[in-house]
Assembly symmetry: D4
């Protein structure tokens, strides 16, 4: 029940077309319908300007295709994350225009050009971290941000990171992607005074425990200004970086 | 050693005023002098406008007093976090003007009035989470942010949280503090499209594992837009929220 | 040895038809036979009105078929849980009438119509939680309960849950199925005063640790009235919900 | 805004005393006021007939006294759980009539006689589990249930448990409290077809890990019909047992 | 109800002194009385020749004194394990003759001389493991076994262990007590073909995790013939070693 | 170098047949030769009467075949544990007489008849535990023990276990195999006074954590007389049970 | 840009062959090139005489071939670790001379003869540890060290280890590779006063937790002189052993 | 019995001063005495030039005093690590000359001047890491090494570490002490080609888990050349660094 319908209802009561009892009955359900109404508002707020995203893991190919088809009726740049090639193929077979970035495991459905605002820096440690970093980078781009990548900047070769100093100081938000010992976000946050969103990756072996070592390192960063998302959650980091960057860009 | 000095050095070599060997010796140390020079810059960048903070745990009372004394020579609003009453007393005994907020376990040394910019919302779940929430709130205020508190908004009584809807939509950053099952950040991030920095607290017992249950819940939030800091790390969340809020406020 | 046989034995002793020594010899074995007798009673109590269930994981296809064949000689609606399609096919090949619900990984052998009593509400968070939710729902139905499903009610979109308020208040037991941060049971238990049986699912990635994050959240619920079963244990939750619902329905 | 006020508003619109625009403006805020209204309803539903409870850990003595004082203005039998003797004394010093059960670490504030309905069986394994069992037993009694205790029934001496067979079969809900290997709930659920709510206790040492061993055993029970609450959470188990028992008793 | 009483009952029925109905009523309770009867038998079997033991942790001083007083009425050499000096003093104050071995944290109540049979070897690694080793040694002695101690035989100085080769080959059971890396049981089991019962101790720091490192090492022993008890569970190891040694001694 | 050779060496020195320097050189190596000598003795002790065993996991098929071929030159009844069908086939292809028991994942190479002495009881909880139980049973038989199996005696149906009371009281050692909540060893050890060697299995799901739940329950058994081996380590349990049973049988 | 080139540049400026502006332009990038320069220096220092190594896991076959091709342009004996046969084949297909050691999962690209200096002892416990031990051994050889292997020296057969006493006392560094209970490094470090670098392997099952049991044992070694690398990290252990051994050899 | 005494014994036999029988009796104990002899050799080898050390935790004050008294009869510079002030006082009360370094929790008993050879660099991250760093530094000095300290070099302020570049390149071994995220060893090992022994400290809170976060980071270092010791094990790191440094120094 949206605003127009509430106003119409009141007008019906005012005009005598609707009895008070019936109007009351309809409004009684308002706590729910009203929240349904709120839902739409929130919906817009949450999604304001952003692409829709579907997390593919744990869903069947059929479910993913059904959901993205419905979303693509109303949105461009619908994201399917953690998408296998099979899913990409099925989306194509369903007749949906799309772009598949296998390295980022992302399908962009009904791709539309976006002019990115502001600046998000995307820093990653090693070659094997690139899939997660690309998930973050492409997501941020699709969400309407200008993104600069600085890959292969692990702490074992500090000079490569220090080369990126200017980029880091100019970014409104920095997404740092690292596996193994996960030291990179601490070093980045020690270099510049910008919010660092750290993404631990499951890269490593043995006691990396699928990214837990990196996660713990990031949570225990001795440099303030680091917050952390789930292991391999490039999408989540990009989403928050986009929230920050777009708030800054919009304010500017 | 800045660019002018390098050019001057080369000109001295070119003109014969400087021997190749001596020029080489000076350039050899460049990586360090250069980084030393950068250090000062970074130093400023990192500390730009923010208060200094000293984490008291694991330091002796004497060490804390010595460090805050040195910092207070150059800064007002120096923060001593995780400070016991004993530390506060010792800071007082050292003749330093200060304000002790026992609930937040914070000492503000050489307190100075700050006009907070923007808006950071500080939401917490239960009474027992308040010390961590206050650590975050006071830190954010001292760092120059306008802070609004919404305490006791646990998910078992959703209405109290929903009452805060307007506050949440207006904030540039939202710090959400919760222990036990740590569900609050997910619900907040589902309501509004603002960056949520989640702080798990060690509140709980048994399988809360001193905050791990809450931490895991926050890392696994089904709502995008949540990042997480270490357990009980109110300071860290406030620091990042301040980075975000001040970027937005400065851009405005 | 049942009660009649004991009485008959005593009468034989009383009438002199049975010597004391022989009677004693027979009774000596009573601790075991007697418990065997108890066994039957318990057996009935435990299984009273309920379908038999076979957990398929860790059993060979041959073992499962052998067990369900024997059970189906005496019972209808025998459940085979965690059943692969291969198992379903083998059950069919064995000539047993059955219904396979692939999404719930359940085979109902010798399916018979059941009129469900009372009301169990089955609430789940996300699309990927549906297999576990369906395992619970079908189990509860087969056990003789009326079941209402409310799926896709994750806390990131509260309105969908609030829409189910009436269902929740009318249920005698509520099974809540959720993965990721596992916040849904807390929110449900905060809304209504009905017993909530929470089922963490292994849905998630990284620090969801195969459902541990959700499990911990559920065990640490800030809302009283939540108890928890093993990860993905839809069957167990349905079994207990059925015990509760049928107790209430029978009392009514 | 309660129902009467909504009806009055509609009547004012109907009668022309209130313009549609103003009525719309007032209703616009309904999502929040309405939920505030719902809050009261939920509040009643949640608390319907039950005592209020305050969890004391992590709260200061002053906070506990303040909260129970406010609650005791409207309720009798307010429970303060995990209460130290110091808290009990402070409640007494505040002039509140109360009863302190040190073994259960419970204070009942403004104690009032309650006639317990139905039957909850409270089974515990060892002497050291009694504090948690008593927390559950007293809570259940205060919540209006008839409670029977069967303590010291550990699986190392099965006969003691088997002696309680009749009690177990008559209970509407069984709370089983056990530490160490936590086997008791499985054995109880194997004996009778009643909902078993298992409470792991932190009793044990070494690899009991403060109750984790017992918790895991309970979650992995081979007998269906067992659900589990947090370690040492006697209150939570009693709360849910009360929900079940009172539903049955009310239906009868 | 023991065998004589059942036979007497049958004879009363046979002779007409007892009516069938009354006899049946008495026998009806047999499932429980019978198990009570079995209980006594088991009781004897379990305790046959062995001392009674009370685990003091988690019990109040009063509870411990009450239990050992009752046990000491029927048994000598009652063991109170994990007993503080305060408990020992309270036992003395209760007028019970006793011997307190503070290093083993054991009180032997109503101590009586025991002639130990067979041979149990008690091997420990370091000085800090001695309290647990002594708990095991004294327990084994009180249970009627001949015990030989070989302490301070850590694997960092193999010669000390090799010196004990003859002792090890002659023992019917070997209890090996070690903390830190817990390697000693593997080495012992590699030297001799006797059952090794390994007791991890909580000795160590950091990643010893209170004995978990040692426990895991022992469970993963590359030498067959090692089984393990709980961390610091000297009593349990001694109990099983006694079962083994006494079986062998009795058979001889 | 044995005692006679040392005496002969000394006599050679005494008589002048051996120079001091050469004698010293020979004695210098004594620590190693001597231990080498001990090695042989130990070797015999360790292997005395027992079959050789090869753990196949982590070895290539070629390595397994090579090792068992060498062992089978000197021993019958060589065991290959955790053996796949592929390994069994390769052993056959190598021309070695053998018997493959697929359920126990065991190959017995050069099988020879063994007359088992004494009595080992093999108790297991569920159908899925049988592979581990059979590994233990067959190992114990090959090691020369009389073995009686009592399978499917889980604690959810106590009567099945109680039926085995006599077997349990007659065994010299009891191997108890259980997954899930791992409660069976506690119940068995509460029934009879015989050494119980508990084998947790990886049977279960979710929080069974591949057998950790069962392992912890067994380590925390409230009944004394339980020791534990690694998860799924049927071989190890059988090895120790054999040590115990054969010591008793040999003594008798 | 190495030192010679900087000196040459300065000489060109000095001699007038290079204009100040062009020299400045080249040096302008020095803060970065300089660090690049440092990089090269470090590069050489780090790799001084050492082979380059590429960790293959987590990289695509194409990425590995691209990297080793580039490295092989400047270096011989480039190592590809954790290399599958597929990677080895692709390296061959790219026309690169190479040697594949499947057991060590290593490809040596552009293999060149190396004369090993000093002595590194490579000790391993079981057959299944050999792949990791070989990774270490071959790495150490390629890095220019003399390596002696002592395999199959597990603590269950001490004599085999004691036979290696002389080797151990002569080595400048000892790499000890062990899975399961990981006791071997403690025993080795108890025998000789040489730095022991312990490598836990993922060999084992159940509670070996993929090498964690061995790792913890090694970290908790009661013998000083043991340090530890990641599970299965033969390369890392060899790298550090090489650093030590070459420092000693160079000093000699 | 050392080598000279064996040779003397042989000479006595050769010269007839000692009868064969008596010589044999003395040598008979050789397998043990010999190992005792080996022990002394090992003893010397292990301790060669090094101080004796006693780990105080888990020992009573009396035990520590007894052990250091005995050691101090034969050695100077006996170390008591993890020593409380109470232990230091008791050592003094026992009349032993000593030096107590409270920050390093070390007592040096019978302190003697040592001229340190070579160079060990001791790098630490934060103020709170200093106790562990000092334990390492003083231990290394007492063991006869030249030690240079570089404290407060955390990765959040890279310039402080880079300032130490020359020290790092000159050291034969580098001990790096860090808590929290434990990133420092990776950065150090990325800078210089020297063996880095990393010591995680228990400094941190929440998810630092008492040093586990740092430990995992160090084990997962992306820079080769890092090995790790137990949490807070400054002594162990110093011991191995001393082994390395002294090998190099002795070779030089």
């Amino acid at each position: 029940m949206d605003r127009d319908r509430i106003r119409a209802l009141l007008e019906d009561v005012s005009s005598g077309r609707l009895a008070v009892d019936e109007a009351f009955r309809r409004l009684r359900t308002l706590p729910y319908e009203d929240i349904g109404f709120a839902k739409v508002d929130l919906h817009r707020a949450i999604r304001g300007g952003a692409a829709e995203a579907v997390f593919c893991e744990g869903k069947t190919v059929e479910q993913v295709v059904a959901v993205v088809t419905r979303l693509a009726e109303h949105h461009g740049n619908v994201l399917a994350t953690r998408a296998s090639g099979e899913i990409a193929a099925a989306i194509g077979a369903a007749g949906l225009p799309h772009r598949y970035q296998a390295d980022a495991r992302l399908v962009v459905v009904r791709p539309e050009p976006v002019v990115g605002v502001g600046l998000i820096a995307l820093v990653s440690a090693g070659t094997a971290d690139i899939p997660v970093a690309e998930e973050a980078a492409v997501t941020a781009e699709v969400l309407g941000n200008h993104v600069e990548r600085a890959y292969d900047c692990g702490v074992a070769g500090l000079h490569r990171l220090l080369d990126q100093h200017q980029l880091l100081t100019e970014a409104n938000a920095i997404v740092v992607v690292a596996g193994m010992e996960g030291a990179l976000p601490s070093v980045v946050a020690g270099l510049v005074d910008r919010p660092v969103i750290a993404v631990p990756t499951s890269v490593g072996y043995g006691t990396s425990f699928g990214g837990i070592a990196a996660l713990l390192a990031m949570l225990n960063s001795c440099a303030p200004g680091v917050s952390v998302v789930n292991i391999d959650n490039g999408y989540g980091a990009a989403h928050q970086a986009s929230q920050i960057n777009r708030l800054v860009a919009k304010a500017g």
